[in-house]
Amino acid sequence: MPTPVLEVKNLKTYFKTGAGVARAVDGVSFEIARGETFALVGESGCGTSVTALSIIQLIQDSGFYGGGQILLNGRDVIPLSEKEKRKMRGNKVSMIFQEPMTSLNPVFTVGDQILETIMLHQKKSAADARAAAIEMLRSVKFPNPEAIFDEYPHRLSGGMRQRVMIAIALCCKPDLLIADEPTTALDVTIQDEIIKLIKELKESMGTAALLITHNLALVYNNAETVGVMYGGKIAELAPARALFKNPMHPYTIKLLRSIPGRAMRARPLDTIPGSVPPATAYAEGCRFSGRCPREMQGCAAIEPLLSSREPGHFAACHLYDSDFMKTPDSTPLHREAEILPIISTPPDMRETLVKAAGLKTYYPIRKGLLKRVTGYVKAVDGIDLTMKKGSTLALVGESGSGKTTAGKTIIRLIEPTGGEIFFKDARLTHLKESELKTFRSKAQIIFQDPYSSLNPRLTVGKIIEEGLLTLKPGLDRKARLEKIASTLGRVGLDAGAMERYPHEFSGGQRQRVGIARALAVDPEFIVCDEAVSALDVSVQAQILNLLKSIQRDFGLSFLFITHDLGVVKYVADEVAVMHQGKIVEHSATEELFSNPKHAYTKKLLAAVPRMGNDF
C-alpha cells in the first residue's frame, strides 16, 4: 500500500489557559490517502480547527503538543526546525480559512499576495512568477486575471476573495490542502461554486484535501471519508456514504437528526441537551456522557475505544464493545426521552397582521468634490409583503439582496424611502417616532450575532428591563422583575440569569436572552434576522424548537430572514424570495420547494447541497 499523504497518529494538542490545560485535540488518529478528500466534522469547540492548525504547524503561543505524530509523506512534522516547517507551509501543505473578508492583507494587491508564495517556494524569475500567478488566477475562474492581479482585496466580493485564497493555496501544487470551513461565510450559490472549484483543481493536481466543516450535506457530496469529532477526540470514522446511511455513534445520530429541513414540520427537531463541555473539564470516560441519550452506567468513567461494525467504519462507543456490554457497567442510565409532537395546526391564514406595500429603501451614492448625490443603491426596491397572524414568512436571498434592510424597514428601524407599512390596518409610515410606541412593543427583532447584539456592560436582567421601561411604563419594579423572570423561564433560562452578564453565557444561551428581550414586551410580530445562522447545528435545533413553541403559545407572527433553505423548509409557512431589492417569488413553502417558478429561485434551490435519500 502506498504511503498516505498524511498520517495523524494519536495527536494531542493542548493549550495552557487560566482554567488549566485545555485538551483541544486529545488523541486523534486518521490518515488521508493521495488525492483523497477527508472531512472532519464537529461543532465549535470540538477540536477540528486545532487539528488543522496542528497539521500545518501553526499552533500559537500558549499551545503545545502533548504527544503523537503528524506524518506528512511519512515524515513527522512536529520535530522539524522552524525553517523546515516554513518550507512545508504553503508548499507541501496549504490552507484556506473560513473568513475570506479578513484573510487577505488589505494593503497589498491580490497579485502581490500570490506572487509572494510563488517566489518563496519556487525558483522562478519575476516574469515567470508573474505569469504563473496570472495563470493561477485564470484557473480559479477569473475571466480577467490580468486586471484582478492589480486589484486590492477590498474591491472584491467574498466569493472572489475566497477564490484568491484558493489561488494562493494551490499555486505551489501542494500535496495536501486544508480547507477550514471554506464556504461557511458565503452565499449558497457561491458556496456551490467554490466547492466545485476546489474539487476540480484538487483533482487536476492530485492534491489530497482535509475539509473541515459543520455542513453535513457538503460532506456527503464531497468527501470520501469522514471523521466526526467530539470533545477533542474522533467519535466516529467512516466512509462518507456509510456514515450517513448507518451512523453508529449516538452523537452522530443526534447530529444528523438535528438538521432542519428533513424533519417533519409538525415535529420538534431532535436536540442534544446541554452544550459541548469545555476542553479543560472533560469526563474521564466518554466525553459525550451526560448528553448521550443512550448513556450507560460505566460511560462517564471508562473511556470507549474505537470499535468497528463494518470494514472501515469505527465508532468510539461502548455500545459496540461486546465485552463492555457483558458487564454491569452497561446498565442503561435513562431511556431516550420520547419526543412529544408539537400539535401545530397550520395557522389560520386569513387575518393579516403586517402589510408592506411598495416599500422602498434607498441609500444615496455621493460622488465628486461636493459629494453630490449621483444615484441610489436601491436596497429595497418596491416590495409588497403580507404577514398573516400566527404564521411564519421566510424572506430568503443572498447577501446584498436587501432582505435585512427590508426586515428592518418593516419595523421602522430604518426609515423607508417610499411605500406604506400597515400594522393591523393602521398606517405606520407617517407616524413620528414618539407616536410609534405601541407599535414598537408589538414588533420586535432578534439579531443574528448573539455575541455582539447584547450590551456587554449590562446584566441580562437590565437588558430585558430596558425594553419594559420604555415600552411598558405602566409596570412597577416588582411587576417588571416578575415579567423578566417569567420570560427567562419561558426561553429555558433560570431567573438567576438576571444577575449575570452576557459573556457568562454560551452562544445558544445568549440567543435565548435575545429572544427573551424581544418576548418580554408582549410582541405580536418578531423579525428574526438570521437568528439561528451563527449557531451550531445542535444548538440551532434547540433555538428553532424554542421559536416554534413560543409561536404556538403566543400566536406570534415571524418574519424569518435567512439564507438557510433547510431552516426555511422547517419553520416557514410561506416563502418570499428576494433578489436585487425585489421580491421575485412569493408562495407557500411546499409549493415553492416543489414547484419553483422564477429562474432565480430555481438557481438558489439547485445550489443547495443535498443529502440524497439515504436516510
Binding site: K87, S94, F97, E99, P106, V107, E116, Y152, G368, L369
Partner: protein, 326 residues
C-alpha cells in the same frame, strides 16, 4: 486622489475662519483691551486716560467687533477684529504690544532654532520607538517583552523635568560632555543640540514604545497574518512586511498630526535649554504679558493642528488603498 485632497482642504476653510473668530473673542471680548492695558500699565495707579492712550497707541482704540459710529462697510472694517484678527488669515501677525517688533519676522527667524531640536527629536523618536516596539512584539509573551513593558511604564511615569535636570546634571555637569544649555547658529549648534534631543527622545520613549507595541500586537492577531504564516513566510517577514504596513495606519494618526508642530517648538525644552525658538518666544511673551504675540501663537497652534489633520488624511491614502474607495 486630487479631489480627495481638495475636499479635505475645502473642509478646513470654515474651521480656520472659526478658529480666527474664537481667538478674537478670547482676546478682545473675554479679556478686553482695557484689561490688557491695565495689566501692562500696572493695576493700581492707572488713569482711564492712560488706558485710552495705550489703546490708541497700540491699535486697540476701536470697538471690538462692530463700529456703530461708522457707516457702510466701515462698521465692520473699523474694528479691532478686522484690523488685528482678520489679517491673521493671510498670516499677517502685526506688531507686538511691548517692543513693537514685527511678529511675523520674529517667527520666521526663531522657527529654525525650534526646528533644530524638534526635527531630530521627532525623527529619532519615531524610529527608536518603532524599533523597540517591533522587538517587543516579536518576542511577545517572553520575559524580554514583559520586562520591556514594565520598563516603559516606569519611564512614562517619570516627569519630563526629571529627565531634563537629570540629563543636565549627569551629562552636562558631572561628565562635562555637552554644555548644559545655550544655542549657537550653523554647525556650532550641534554640541548644544545633543542633550535636548536625547532627553526629548528618552522622555517620550515609554509612551511611544508601549503604544506602537499595542498596535503591532493588535495586527498580529488578525486573520491575514495567519494567512501569511500559512504561506510559509518567516516571522520577521510576517511582522515587517505584512503587519508593519497595516500598523502604519494607526501609527500615522499619531505621528503625522504632530509634524507641523515641529515648527512650533516645545515650551519646556526650549526654556530649560535656553534655545531661542518659538517655545521660548511664547513663554517670554506670556511673562511680559504681550497679548499680540500670545494671540499670534495661539492662532498659529490651531492652524498647525488643522494642517496636521489634513496631512494625516492624505498620508492614509498612501498606505491604505481602502481610503479612496468610498
Amino acid at each position: 486622489m486630487l479631489t480627495y485632497i481638495i475636499r479635505r482642504i475645502l473642509y478646513a476653510v470654515p474651521i480656520v475662519i472659526g478658529v480666527n473668530v474664537l481667538t478674537a473673542l478670547l482676546f478682545f471680548y473675554v479679556n478686553t483691551p482695557d484689561d490688557m492695558a491695565r495689566k501692562i500699565l500696572g493695576e493700581k495707579n492707572v488713569t482711564p486716560a492712560a488706558i485710552e492712550n495705550w489703546k490708541k497707541d497700540h491699535g486697540y482704540g476701536l470697538p471690538a467687533f462692530l463700529n456703530t459710529k461708522e457707516a457702510g462697510l466701515a462698521t465692520v472694517t473699523q474694528t479691532i477684529f478686522y484690523q488685528k484678527s482678520v489679517p491673521l488669515l493671510w498670516l499677517d501677525f502685526g506688531r507686538s504690544d511691548r517692543n513693537n517688533i514685527d511678529i511675523g519676522r520674529e517667527i520666521g527667524r526663531r522657527m529654525w532654532a525650534s526646528l533644530a531640536i524638534s526635527l531630530p527629536m521627532f525623527t529619532f523618536g519615531v524610529f527608536i520607538d518603532l524599533f523597540f516596539a517591533m522587538m517587543l512584539a516579536y518576542y511577545r509573551g517572553t520575559y524580554l517583552d514583559i520586562s520591556g513593558v514594565v520598563f516603559c511604564v516606569i519611564m512614562m511615569s517619570v516627569s519630563t523635568l526629571f529627565y531634563i535636570i537629570g540629563g543636565q546634571f549627569i551629562l552636562g555637569k558631572l561628565l562635562k560632555l555637552f554644555p548644559i544649555s545655550g544655542y549657537d547658529t550653523g554647525v556650532y549648534s550641534f554640541k548644544f543640540l545633543v542633550l535636548p534631543v536625547a532627553v526629548g527622545v528618552i522622555s517620550g520613549a515609554g509612551i511611544g514604545i508601549r503604544f506602537y507595541r499595542t498596535v503591532f500586537l493588535e495586527e498580529i492577531n488578525k486573520d491575514y497574518i495567519r494567512t501569511a504564516r500559512a504561506k510559509g513566510l518567516s516571522e520577521a517577514k510576517v511582522l515587517f512586511k505584512h503587519a508593519l504596513k497595516n500598523a502604519m495606519i494607526p501609527v500615522l494618526t499619531n505621528v503625522v498630526v504632530s509634524i507641523p508642530f515641529l515648527f512650533y517648538g516645545s515650551l519646556i525644552m526650549e526654556s530649560f535649554f535656553s534655545i531661542p525658538g518659538l517655545g521660548n518666544f511664547t513663554i517670554d511673551a506670556i511673562q511680559a504679558q504681550d497679548f499680540a504675540i500670545v494671540r499670534s501663537m495661539v492662532y498659529m497652534g490651531s492652524i498647525l493642528y488643522i494642517v496636521g489633520l489634513i496631512l494625516t488624511d492624505i498620508s492614509y491614502t498612501l498606505v491604505d488603498p481602502r481610503v479612496l474607495f468610498e
